[in-house]
Subunit: 449 residues, 2 copies
Amino acid sequence: MQNLALVDVLVKLHDALKRNDLAEAAAIIEALRAPDQADIFSELEDAEQATLLPKLHPSQSADILEELDELEAAEVVADLPTDTVIRIVDEMEADEAADLLGDIHPKQAEAVLAGLEDPDEVRPLLMHPDDSAGGLMTSEFLALRPGMTATEAIEAIRAWQPDVETVYYLFVVDSLKRLCGIVNLRQLIIAEPNALISDIMDREVISVPVGTDQEECARLITRYDLLALPVLDDQGMLLGVITVDDVIDVIEDEATEDIQRLGGAEPLDRSYLDASVLTVARKRIGWLLLLFVTGSLTGTVMRYFESELQSVVALAFFIPLLIGTGGNAGSQTTSTIIRALAVGDIDLGDAMSALWHELQAGLLLGFVMAVVAYLRAITWGSGQPLALAVSSAIFLIVIWANGMGSILPLLAARLRLDPTVVSGPLMSTLVDTTGLLIYFTIATVVLSL
Amino acid sequence: MQNLALVDVLVKLHDALKRNDLAEAAAIIEALRAPDQADIFSELEDAEQATLLPKLHPSQSADILEELDELEAAEVVADLPTDTVIRIVDEMEADEAADLLGDIHPKQAEAVLAGLEDPDEVRPLLMHPDDSAGGLMTSEFLALRPGMTATEAIEAIRAWQPDVETVYYLFVVDSLKRLCGIVNLRQLIIAEPNALISDIMDREVISVPVGTDQEECARLITRYDLLALPVLDDQGMLLGVITVDDVIDVIEDEATEDIQRLGGAEPLDRSYLDASVLTVARKRIGWLLLLFVTGSLTGTVMRYFESELQSVVALAFFIPLLIGTGGNAGSQTTSTIIRALAVGDIDLGDAMSALWHELQAGLLLGFVMAVVAYLRAITWGSGQPLALAVSSAIFLIVIWANGMGSILPLLAARLRLDPTVVSGPLMSTLVDTTGLLIYFTIATVVLSL
């Protein structure tokens, strides 16, 4: 619960439910805004949800289902009779309805679809992957014709009584339904009543093909400050519209995924406290095991240098410090590069500039760290030769880590992998092994072991 | 450069500039959309920028300055004569103008402000911190009065000829300029011509006080799918409006900061390749040094156990693996918790649930890792006692790391620090030291050293 006021509401709602006063419970929910309704609703037990939802006005239930996490909404719907679901889905926005139907059992989805007032608004949306322009768009939009006057267009808007979501941009299509222009509501209002749409409209419309990745759609909307982005098929026919509110969710979700991957875990796909302990563990164990296996290489390196370690056990004291510093320098670099790629500051063509940038930074950082490490080793009484070995090792390790940290995410991107897979942890583990190799090789020479 | 088409444009532009054909250069720039203009423009040399900008139409120059990174825009402006700057700033949106004036030399800012057509639109915005509602809002908005009719309101819009940015929501204020309602353009169009605004308007407006943090504004706009958010002073007077496009930038910037901090570096505050090597190094050296100092504790722990290490040097082989696994488990947890805090999935009240969640997940993960570590140690021929010591150590270390990983970011949030300061790297360094303590203590007992 985000909000203290909502906690109060929840107490009252539980009270009403305990008294089995469903009318009161429904009234309490209906007095809230949709996102708050969803928050409150998701705090209820499954049985309470299934009892309460059919008592609400279908449009309110629709709002709640739209606001819930997708998986949670699917679970709620699974417990409801089909005719109740139909009444609710009829009130949902087409894009949200399609998302929901895609998440429930195909049999239930087919039954609901068959019962809808206007199944043809939803059915085409089901064909597109959730994370493409087609999965993100709504097919509810008002298309104008170039030959209309401003007054006729305003009349059409009045007759259509549109949802708020898509009304501020109006798209203009020709007789083959191909997109040929865009008009905004402001232009319509300001125009002479008899002006033709074809004279008012802007012909340079930014649009995307239906298969475009959702991140690309988000980037276009963000870059050009759009409120809506039209989606076209191969022939240039207008299929639907992506609105800015859907894109904000995409931006947040993508950042969440990136951050979770950078931490070395698969994305949870649902809100944290709703994810069971088992889910949380399952999303993490794969990486933990993989990193353990790659990390085992450190043991192999050290066994190789067992006799050196045997004769100068003090060598071991610096191991966590050296590989820690390498890992830190590397993850500073990867996280910067990954984010620069994600927001479009750099692309694959900038690989060499980025590498060069990081090698220079590594040179500076490595030098400072080498001086500090030398002083630390001396004050620990490690003696000149060991201090020298430690400080030259840290110098090389930092430069190496910066180089790897910049090149690996770019390599991943070139191989069309998500750059976050070479995240902080994987990066550190790789640098651990190579760092130890560097350290022991230098130590063997400097200490003449 | 994001885009191949833009690279072509850049070549043509350089060509025109080489021939000193400024009219042609200006024409090339003016044919582009604002964000593309800014991209191209920032590829030019400082001198070329200073020559070209005054040749463009002031409204085009204004668009470019609005799109450039803030620091870059300030640098460009610093090289221009004051009267040129005044002509450009006059065309900028008030919120962007205020941001720019805040970034340039105070003397130049004062001179520009004095020359503006309407300094009172910009001056009040200068008082508010950049990252507050006041710093984000624009003071250009059209306020209606409750006693107007729909027709009169539409007339007012026509007379005002508003910028696109703020037109879709219209705010209604009383005689004391206090916000009393909101009308959207759709409602105006659909309404009976003689309907009173006070009858059409929605009285339940979501608004924020002027000092509200920008992240909170972003959260409200995202949560309630708003296109604009009104900003009020203590008396409820309408001061300005925050629009959805500004908020998308906030969301992206905050995610970038979080990701850079999670990687253990201070945010760069500008786009990656624009940041000099020295800046990059400066943003990282502080953390690298701090982590080196805290990491030194690992050496202290190991020196304490020097004799044990002397007698069983094989103990050292597992050190990078153990502390690596601890660090990985910890950063999986911190990154999940930090993101859940940032998007509002959990708040401080959920601290105990989050800790309990993570301890359970740690129990599961620790068990699996203990089994794997035992097998690994046996296959390395380390012998029963050492294998047992390693596997019990890893079991405890993973649980401990999950506990620390969940409690530290929440503790930071409670202390009103940014939770990302206890990022992956700091987390790992802390777990390194405690992990070694756990390992050597167990080893001493199990191996009877």
